[in-house]
Amino acid sequence: MYDQILVGAAHVFEPWTLFAVLAGVAGGLVIGSIPGLTSTMAIALLVPLTYAMEIEVALPLLMGVYCGAISGGLVGAILLNIPGTPASAGTCLDGYPMAAKGQATRALGLAVYSSMIGGTISGIALVTIAPLLAKVALSFGPWEYFALVIFTFSCISAMSVKGRAVKAFMAAFIGIALALVGLDEASGQVRLTFGFTALESGFYELPALIGLYAIPQLLADTDGIGKEAEILKIKFRLSDFTRTLGEVLRRKRDLLRSTFIGVAIGILPGVGPGLSNIVAYSQAKRASKHPEKFGTGELAESVISPEAANNASMGGALIPMLTLGIPGDASTLMMLGAFMLHGIDPGPLLFRDNGEIVWTVFVSFFVAFAFCTAIYHFFIPLTVKAISIPRQYVIPVLLILCTVGCYSLNNRMFDVYCFLGFGLLGYLLHIARVPVLPVILGLILGPMAEEQLNLALAFGQGSIWPFFTRPISGAILLIAFLSLALPPILARYRGRLTEEPA
C-alpha cells in the first residue's frame, strides 16, 4: 500500500498536476461563488474537456474544481444572502446577518476555516474508511450489488421533499428506461430504438448528465438577469481574517459534530452537501445554550456548523463512489462519469487494480483543500468580484463550453443533440418540480442493476430468495424498506401525538 501512496503523491506533486489542481480550485471558486452555478455544473463543464488529458492530471484537476466549487458557495451566501450553491444554504441564515452588522471578514473567516477543517477531517475519514469498505465490498456478489442499487433509490426517495417521494421513484424509472435504449449485449437485440439506427449505441452518459443539469439551470438563471442583488461592502484585512481561526478552533464540539453529520450524510447515496449543511445548522441550534440567537448573526457556531458539514460531505460522498461505484451526490456522479470516460470502473477492484489512481484522488483531495485555503487568504476581494459578474455574460459562454465538451467526447454531433434533448427533458422535470438526480442515477445504475440481476438469477437458478437470505443483501434490502416505510408511519404517529395532547 505504501508504494501506492508514494506513486499517488508523486503524480499529484508533478508541477503540471499541481498547477491543474490550483487552476481547478480557482475555477471552481469562481463558478461556485456565482449564485445559480453549482459544483455539479462546474464538474460537468470540465469532465468532457479532460478526455484528452492523462488521468493522473484529469482527476486532480476535477478534485480541485469539486473542492473549489463547494467552498465557493459561501461568498455569495455571506455577502449576497444568496447561496452560490445549495451546499451553502445554511450559511445564509447567519452569515449574511453577521456580514450586515459590519463583520463580513469575521463571517468569511469563520466559514473558510470551518470549511477547510471539515473538509480535511472528511479526507481523513475517506482515506481510512474507503479501503476498509472496499475490502468488505470484495466479498459482495450480484445480490448485494443489486440490493445496493435498490437502497440508493430508496435513499433518494426517503430524502425527497415531502410529497415528492413517489415522484423521485418516477424520475428514477425514467432514467432506468432511458438506459435500456440501444443494443442489449447479452441477447444481441436492440431495445426502444423505434427504428432509429443512431440510438442503437444507446445514450452516452456524459452528454445526458450535462444536458439534464446544465440546460434547465441556465434557462432558469436567465430570470435573474437585471435583478442582481446588492453586495455587502467588505473591508478585507488579512489579520482580521486569520484571527477567526482561533474562534473556530474554540468551537471544537460544534466543528466535530457538524463534520460527523457531513461525513455520515455524504456516505448515504444520492444525498450530500445540500442536505448536510441544513441538518448541521439545526443540530447546532438544538445543542446551543442560546438557540434564540440563531439567525441574528451573533454566534460563531451558526456559521461554522453548516460550512464544516457541507465540506465534510465531500469526503463522505467519495466513499461509496470509489468503493462501490455508487455516487454519494450529484457532483460525485459527475466524477463517476469522469472515471468512466477514462476507462476506469470505480468499485472494490479499483483499490486492488488501480491503487495508485485511488491515492492520486486522496492526495489531490488534501492538496485541493490546501490551495483553497491559500486562495481564500489572498484573493477574497477577487472572489467577491466574481459574484457580481452579470449573468448574461456567463450563460452563453457556459452553453458553448458544454456544446464543445459534448462534441469532443466522440467527435459527433449526435452527442450534442442528445445534450439538447436531455436538457429539454430536464427542463420539463424542472417545471414539474421532479428531482433530476434520480434520472441520472437511473441512467448510470440501470445497466449495473440489469447485469447484477441477471447474474444473480443465473447463479441462483432463477430463484429470488438469495436476495433475502444472504445476510448483507437481506440487511441492505431491509434498511431500504425501512427507509421508505418508517418516515410516513412516524409522521402519522407524531401527527396523532400533536392532535391528542396529554
Binding site: 435500456l180 441477447s187 437485440q189 431495445r191 436567465t222 418540480r433
Partner: protein
C-alpha cells in the same frame, strides 16, 4: 401543483406505455438462463405501477393549496428570456452544420449577450464583442492547441 402533477403523471405513463409497445418485439434465446425480456418488462411494469400510484395519490390528495397555479407555472416555464435563450441555442446548433463552428459560435455568443442584456447600449455591444473574442480564443487555445481535440 395538482394540475401540473397530473399532467406530468399522464405524460410519464404515456411514455412508458409507448416504450412497452417496443418490448413486445423482444424475443428470448433458448440457451439463455435468464429471459432477455425480464428486466425491460420489470422496469416498465414497475414504472407504470409507480406512475399509477402517484396519479391516484394526486387525485385523492386533499392538498388544494396550490403553491402556484398552472397559469403561473406556465408563465414561468415559457418566460420570454428563457424561450429566447432556448430558441437561439437551437438555431446555433442547427447553424453549426451550415456556417461552421467558429462563425456560428461567434454569432450565438454575441447575439445572446446582447439579447439577454437588460439594457442595450454601445457599452454592452463592446463587452459582448470582447466576451465573444475571449471565449473563442479560450476554446481555440484550450481545445485545439493544448488538448488537440476536434471542434464541431
Amino acid at each position: 401543483m395538482r394540475t401540473s402533477d397530473l399532467i406530468f403523471s399522464f405524460l410519464y405513463i404515456a411514455a412508458l406505455l409507448i416504450a412497452a409497445t417496443q418490448l413486445f418485439k423482444l424475443s428470448d434465446m433458448n440457451a439463455a438462463v435468464v429471459s432477455a425480456k425480464l428486466y425491460p418488462w420489470l422496469v416498465v411494469g414497475a414504472g407504470l405501477a409507480v406512475g399509477g400510484l402517484e396519479t391516484l395519490r394526486t387525485l385523492v390528495s386533499k392538498e388544494s393549496g396550490e403553491v402556484s397555479g398552472i397559469s403561473v407555472i406556465w408563465h414561468r416555464a415559457f418566460a420570454r428570456r428563457r424561450m429566447i435563450l432556448l430558441g437561439l441555442f437551437v438555431v446555433y446548433l442547427a447553424a453549426i452544420a451550415f456556417v461552421g463552428f467558429l462563425a456560428s459560435t461567434a454569432m450565438f455568443c454575441f447575439c445572446t449577450i446582447l439579447v439577454l442584456a437588460p439594457k442595450r447600449s454601445m457599452k454592452a455591444a463592446v463587452v459582448a464583442a470582447l466576451t465573444t473574442a475571449g471565449t473563442l480564443g479560450l476554446i481555440y487555445v484550450l481545445l485545439v492547441v493544448y488538448l488537440e481535440a476536434f471542434l464541431p
